[in-house]
């Protein structure tokens, strides 16, 4: 009997890097020991806009242990041209260049780096650096910035413009049932638990090893090469462990630039770690305003969609997101018009944060759909099913798969939706108002060209490697399982290397494409190893596998055996020994291929989800508790149900956070995010999170990506905040259209029930 545990694709094995994480042995960017290390502490500027007039560093330099104070006055040369400062995911514009000159572009901009023999000395000396400024008028008020709303001529290359259909204006005017609402999303900061940090190792020959907090080590390597005019071959960027990122590590952050600058100038190893406060001085989810107008027939058939949004960017780069397309794609409605633009404020450039665009745009659209369902007097789930579309309505293309209907059904069943009463305020329990809300989530199922190597040793040990990243998403585990699946080896015999720019080429970890992409690359590489093994096995004396094709054999339990007669086979180690092979090493690249590219043109590829939420609201205090969540996700093939579930749990928690807690508050007089710490920037704590159930609905889809995997990093957050907001309406009768829904908004009597 075969008692081997299945560890391949589809099995819920424990995260393979778990032991390192629970024992404290996993080292993050600021934790790699280096002899003779210097510590750099960043001095942040005090004004939002203008220029530095004087920068006084003599007091700081006088502190024993201070080695150097870097500023625009004495910095070494960096590339002149913007294009040399652009990283591979930079939006159009002129990238921020720290210490480049005396100009201040945003509050908290780094103006100096104090480098000392110890962290404590550097921190103290940094407090002694004094700057005076010439202040220019600034604006950080996004509502005022609407006057400067514009559509840049050079679009971000990930941007998809909305495609209109029918006559939305006329249909909206004629609709017997309609809603029109304005929504607002506060700026959010990613705030991963690990602060952005870099340890730059000066290798003595001018080459650098850089341990960096990033979602893309090759992106950082190429960026540093451009900025400092170095050959990419002299820079090795490592990120074996990343303490969360959620998008904040897609682009290289300024601490790596400063640390490398200091290391090159001083020819010593340097570590720079941002403070939590400084984590509010770079990328953030853009602030957003969205206007949704929906029309329907009296029976609830949607007839008109008008969807318009603005998101914030900086004055120096044009960050754009896909905000308005989601609802236009998802619903059967003959008339739809979308419109989108950006508006600049004097902050750092906004950046991608978990499900960029969709977390904002689908959330607000789903809040508007709830309003329309109520206007039509129809159960909000029934309303969605009535307007369900099997095809991508905006692009007029079929989906490779769309099991959203099944997600609605399984989610509703698990939640008990049929026991809901429609009227707001109708489900009171004790002193709490109970509300049940539903919403839909949607994200892209993307695939990105990725390479991986596989190296099988004579002892049967396999190493697979790719310059991918694991930011908590489970990439180590995904790669292990893709390898185990192909070569039938136990987990203990598989080592995964990632987080190293010197490994085979991989994209940044983002967009939910990593599992599908690197999983396919590992599978290809391992299949190539398998073919070589079989060929060697067939040549063995009296080989039971002579003449057998790849399809006729199975790799399992460290053996290659005939599928039809598993007793006839050989051990992999035996094949290696018999053929006198020390090692089989291959590298393969997974790309969409011609059929994939044709499919991409002809079909839409998306994940979908249905989220059901129960809230309990204490009306006297305005306190909201999210007591139950069911998130039913249709995301193709699931590589590991355990780590996949965690991805969705995390997305749901961040969605609850978006609905109730997260808000970077600006004091517009100073143009600064004032609540720049974990005490005042609220994220959920353990006590805020109750029961969350995750369901993966069956959705076989061999066409979407080579493994049939769609990706899970973003879908968990999309729509979750809408389900919470809709449940709050159901509980209280109040529509709060500005997220987060804080206590003040609920107890405010001026909001009509």
């Amino acid at each position: 009997m075969n008692v081997l545990q299945n560890v391949g694709i589809g099995s819920a094995i424990n995260r393979v890097d778990g032991l390192q994480k629970v024992t404290g042995r996993a080292r993050y960017a600021a934790e790699h020991p280096v002899p003779g290390l210097l510590h750099g502490v960043i001095v942040s500027g005090a004004i939002p806009k203008g220029r530095i007039v004087t920068l006084e560093d003599s007091e700081a330099r006088a502190v024993p242990g201070v080695v150097e104070v870097l500023s625009h006055k004495n910095r070494p040369h960096v590339a002149w041209f913007d294009r040399s400062h652009k990283d591979m995911v930079a939006p159009p514009g002129s990238p921020f260049k720290a210490l480049y000159d005396d100009k201040i572009l945003f509050s908290g901009q780094p103006i100096a780096l104090v480098i000392a023999e110890s962290f404590e000395v550097a921190r103290y000396a940094a407090s002694l650096v004094r700057a005076s400024y010439e202040v220019e008028p600034h604006n950080t008020d996004f509502h005022k910035a609407q006057a400067e709303r514009f559509m840049p001529s050079k679009k971000r290359d990930t941007y998809h413009p909305p495609k209109n259909r029918g006559d939305a204006d006329a249909a909206f005017a004629a609709a017997p049932v309609k809603v029109s609402a304005e929504y607002h999303l506060a700026t959010e900061h990613h705030n991963p638990m690990e602060m952005h940090a870099s340890t730059v190792v000066w290798e003595g020959d001018g080459s650098l090893t850089v341990f960096d907090k990033t979602q893309g080590p090759q992106n950082v390597r190429d960026y540093l090469a451009g900025v400092f005019g170095m050959s990419a071959s002299t820079i090795r960027v490592m990120n074996p462990f990343v303490g969360g990122a959620f998008g904040s590590g897609l682009r290289p952050q300024y601490q790596v630039y400063l640390a490398v600058m200091a290391a090159r100038m001083l020819q010593r190893s340097v570590r720079v770690v941002m403070t939590r406060q400084q984590m509010f001085t770079h990328g953030h989810r853009p602030e957003a305003l969205q206007s949704v107008q929906l029309g329907a027939e009296r029976d609830g058939t949607m007839t008109a969609i008008r969807n318009s949004a603005t998101t914030s960017t900086s004055r120096y780069e044009n960050n754009m997101e896909d905000v308005v397309i989601w609802g236009m794609m998802n619903y059967a409605c003959e008339n739809a018009a979308g419109e989108y633009a950006i508006a600049p404020v004097d902050t750092a450039t906004s950046t991608d944060m978990r499900a960029p665009g969709a977390a904002t745009g689908m959330t607000f659209f789903e809040m508007a759909v709830d309003e329309l369902a109520y206007a039509a007097g129809i159960d909000p789930l029934e309303f969605r099913l009535k307007n369900y579309s099997e095809t991508d309505q905006m692009n007029g293309t079929p989906f490779t798969s769309k099991a959203l209907r099944e997600a609605y059904a399984e989610g509703a069943e698990a939640f008990g939706w049929s026991r809901r009463s429609q009227a707001p305020r109708s489900m009171k329990e004790g002193r709490e108002l109970v509300g049940w809300g539903v919403a839909t989530g949607m994200w892209d199922a993307m695939f990105s060209k990725t390479s991986a190597s596989a190296r099988l040793s004579a002892n049967g040990h396999l190493e697979v490697a790719s310059a991918a990243s694991d930011i908590g998403t489970g990439t180590y585990t995904v790669m292990t399982q893709a390898a185990a699946d192909t070569l039938g080896l136990p987990v203990e015999q598989i080592a995964v290397r990632l987080g190293d720019s010197s490994l085979p080429k991989a994209p940044v970890e983002g967009g939910s494409w990593m599992a599908a992409s690197v999983g396919a690359a590992v599978q290809l590489a391992c299949r190539s190893v398998a073919e070589k093994l079989l060929s060697a096995a067939a040549k063995m004396q009296n080989s039971p596998l002579a003449g057998a094709s790849m399809e006729a054999v199975r790799f399992s339990g460290g053996r290659i055996a005939l599928r039809d007669d598993p007793a006839r086979g050989v051990a992999i180690t035996e094949v290696m020994r018999a053929s006198g092979t020390d090692v089989i090493a291959v590298e393969e690249t997974a790309s969409a291929g011609i059929s994939g590219m044709i499919s991409q043109m002809r079909k839409s590829r998306n994940t979908h989800s249905a989220i059901f939420v129960e809230v309990r609201v204490d009306e006297e205090l305005g306190v909201v508790r999210v007591t139950r969540v069911v998130n039913a996700v249709a995301a193709g093939r699931i590589i590991n149900p355990k780590t996949a579930r965690s991805q969705i749990l995390g997305g749901v928690v961040m969605g609850i956070s978006m609905a109730l807690h997260e808000e970077s508050m600006t004091d517009h007089r100073y143009g600064r995010f004032m609540n720049h710490n974990y005490a005042e920037y609220h994220v959920p704590v353990n006590a805020d999170i109750h029961d969350i159930q995750v369901i993966f609905v069956d959705e076989p889809d061999p066409e979407v990506t080579p493994l049939g995997v769609k990706g899970l990093g973003e879908i968990g957050i999309v729509g979750t905040a809408a389900a919470v907001a809709n449940a709050i309406f159901h509980a209280t009768g109040k529509r709060v259209r500005a997220l987060p829904i804080t206590i003040d908004k609920l107890v405010d009597d001026t909001v009509a029930p």
């Binding site: 629970v22 024992t23 404290g24």
Partner: protein, 173 residues
């Protein structure tokens, strides 16, 4: 600038003795060095994490004489004679603490950065003997932020260990 020589730091350091993960350490520490920075930068015990440096996130939680504390809020010199247990000191050789195993089995982390603090905090919670229900665990583990949102799995892991120790309250939530 390459000829800048390392400058020795001439501040008055104070002698202290700490027992760190069972090993007695005689140290010379400036009075402004936090326990967290001492552990991370001088003792190469980087399992204790810095997430805010202000006692707001709990990533730096260690056990001081068996009690959970935010090591970023403790000056090392104030702990002379104390016994410190960090995440590196929880396992006995290859034998993991039951909490460490439970965290792995329940996938009670993703990025892993808050994990050492969560586990040390849970260890402190068990030592306190106060939490006996899910709600109590949720409440008393709320000093440890997890941005990846692994909270429900963290509670599952802690409850499993509570249960195995017979510390659970029947008919709890």
């Amino acid at each position: 600038m390459s000829d800048v020589a390392p400058i020795s730091i001439a501040f008055a350091a104070m002698p202290i003795t700490l027992t760190i993960n069972g090993h007695e350490r005689r140290l010379s520490v400036e009075p402004w060095v936090t326990l967290l920075d001492l552990l991370r930068e001088r003792e190469d015990l980087t399992g204790s994490k810095k997430g805010c440096d202000h006692g707001q996130c709990g990533a730096c939680t260690v056990l001081v004489d068996g009690r959970r504390m935010n090591s970023c809020l403790k000056l090392a010199v104030s702990l002379d004679g104390a016994s410190i247990t960090t995440i590196e000191g929880l396992a006995e050789g290859d034998r993991l603490d039951p909490l460490q195993q439970a965290f792995m089995d329940h996938d009670a982390f993703q990025c892993g950065y808050c994990t050492p603090g969560q586990i040390c905090s849970a260890k402190g919670l068990l030592n306190e003997g106060r939490a006996r229900t899910r709600d109590e665990v949720r409440e008393m583990m709320s000093g440890n932020l997890c941005r990846c949102g692994a909270y429900t799995n963290i509670v599952d892991a802690v409850m499993q260990v509570l249960e195995s120790r017979g510390q659970i309250k029947e008919a709890a939530e």
